[in-house]
Symmetry: D2
C-alpha cells in the first residue's frame, strides 16, 4: 500500500530564498503519514487512543526546490517493520512528476499508559504492510 | 511596567516575499508576553498551573517589513484589565528604532478545573498593572 | 462572491495547549484568500506579476478552539474596497457548522516597480466585488 | 570551533502531544548554524552576498522531548568539508545537560550568479574548519 495525497505550498511554508523552507518538508511528511493511516482505515486520533508513535529519527533529501502555490504530491509507505518500531518512507513530487524531496521517519511504538516501548500489536501490523524494494525507484 | 525582549528573525519566520510572514508577528507577541510574565515574576508554566489565559482576540498593524537576521525589540505591557479579562499591548521595533509592528491580544482568564471564565485573582492582578495612556505613543 | 475552501488541522498547527496555535489562523486566512483569488480567476502568482497586496492590518476573534485532524471550512469575501486598499473578511467553521474563528486582513495595493501605493486597477476591482452587510451574520 | 547558542522553546514550537514538534528541530539547527557563521565572523547576509549554501540533506535523531519554555543549548560545528559541499553537525541539549536531539545538514555551495555548484572558496574554507572525530561524543 502506497498512500498518495496532495499539499498546496503556502506563503507560510516558503522563506526569503523564494522556496519552501527546508524544515517544512517534515510537515508535508506528517500530512502524508496521517493520510496514510486514514486511507488504511484509522484516523490519527484513533491510533493515539491506543498507542503513541513518536518520531525517533527523520531524514530528508532535497532534490529540487518547491515554490509558492505548487501542488505537490506526497507518497507515503512503510519500508520496514520491526518488533517495536517501523519506518515510513516518503516521496514528494511536483505536478509535472519531478522529484522534489524524499525521506523517512522512524517511529517507536509506545504504550499509552506507561510511555514504554511495546511490540507492535496485530491490529497495527495490519495497517502497516511493508512495501518491499523498488518502491523508491518507482517514485 | 513595560517588558522588553529581543527576537532575531529566522529564515523560518520569513516568506517568499523576502520579509517576515504576517502571521509570525503573533509568535513575536507570544515571546513578548511570556517574557513579560517572567520579568513580572512568574514563568508561563507557573501561570498555567493556576489559570489558563487563552487569547480571545488578536490584532496586528504592520508598519514596515522585518528582514532575515534583524534583531527586533518587542515591548509588551498591559493596557486594560477587566473583571475576567485583560489586554496585552505590543510594539515591535527595529534596532534603529523604527516601528515595525504594533498590536494587542485580549485574554480571557479561565479556571483550570472547569475551563470557565473567572475573576482575575489578586496575585494575578499584581502581575498585570495597567500602563495608562501614552505608552503606545512612547514606543 | 464568497469563496469556500477547507483546511485539515495538522500537528504542526497545534500547540501544547492541545489546540490550534492562535497565530496559525492567519495561515488559514492566507489559504482562504489565495483560494478566493483562484476561484475569482487568478492565481496568486498572476496577481503578484502585476501588483503587490501586502497585509497592512490583521485581526482575529477566537470563538472555539480547533483540534488535530479537524476539517475546517474557511470562507473568504471582500467586505470593503477603497481607492488603494481593500479588506478580506474570513469566517472559519467546523464540520458541524460551529464558528471557530473570524477576522479580516486589510491590504494595500502597491505598484510592483515602485513599491508605492496605487489605485486598484479595473481588472482587480472586478476580482474583488464587495459583499455587503450581513455576510458575517450568515456565517 | 564549536559554536554554542541558546533557544527558548515557544508555544509556537510545540504541538498537541505537549512537546516540541519534530520538524521544528530543523529550525533550531538553522539558528545554530546562523550563529556559527556570525561567531566565525560573517553574518548570513554577508555569506548570501557571495554564495548560496542550500541544504541538500538533513537528518535528526530525537533523544528526549523538549517542552514549553525550556532553554535549549544548540551546539554546531563542521564535521566534513569536500570540494563543493560541507556538513554542519548539531547537538541540542537541555539546561541540565541531557541530550535532546542530534543531527546534521549537508550543504552544497552554489555560485550566486549561475546557481551551479562551485568549489568552496578559500575565505569560506577558513570559516569552516573541520572538527574531527569525537566531537559528537563530547556532547
Amino acid at each position: 500500500m502506497i498512500a498518495t495525497t496532495t499539499v498546496r505550498v503556502r506563503y507560510k511554508d516558503t522563506d526569503c530564498m523564494g522556496v519552501v523552507y527546508y524544515g517544512n518538508y517534515l510537515t508535508y511528511f506528517e500530512v502524508g503519514r496521517v493520510e496514510y493511516l486514514r486511507q488504511a482505515g484509522m484516523t490519527i486520533a484513533e491510533v493515539n487512543d491506543k498507542v503513541f508513535i513518536p518520531v525517533a529519527e527523520a531524514s530528508v533529501k532535497y532534490h529540487r526546490p518547491a515554490r509558492l502555490d505548487e501542488l505537490l504530491e506526497v507518497r507515503c509507505w512503510v519500508s520496514e517493520r520491526k518488533r517495536a518500531s517501523f519506518r515510513f518512507e516518503y516521496a514528494i513530487g511536483s505536478e509535472a512528476g519531478e522529484r522534489v524531496a524524499t525521506g523517512f521517519t522512524l517511529h517507536a511504538v509506545l504504550d499509552r499508559a506507561t510511555s514504554r516501548m511495546m511490540a507492535i500489536p496485530p491490529w497495527m501490523a495490519e495497517l502497516l504492510p511493508v512495501v518491499s524494494g523498488g518502491a523508491a525507484e518507482r517514485v
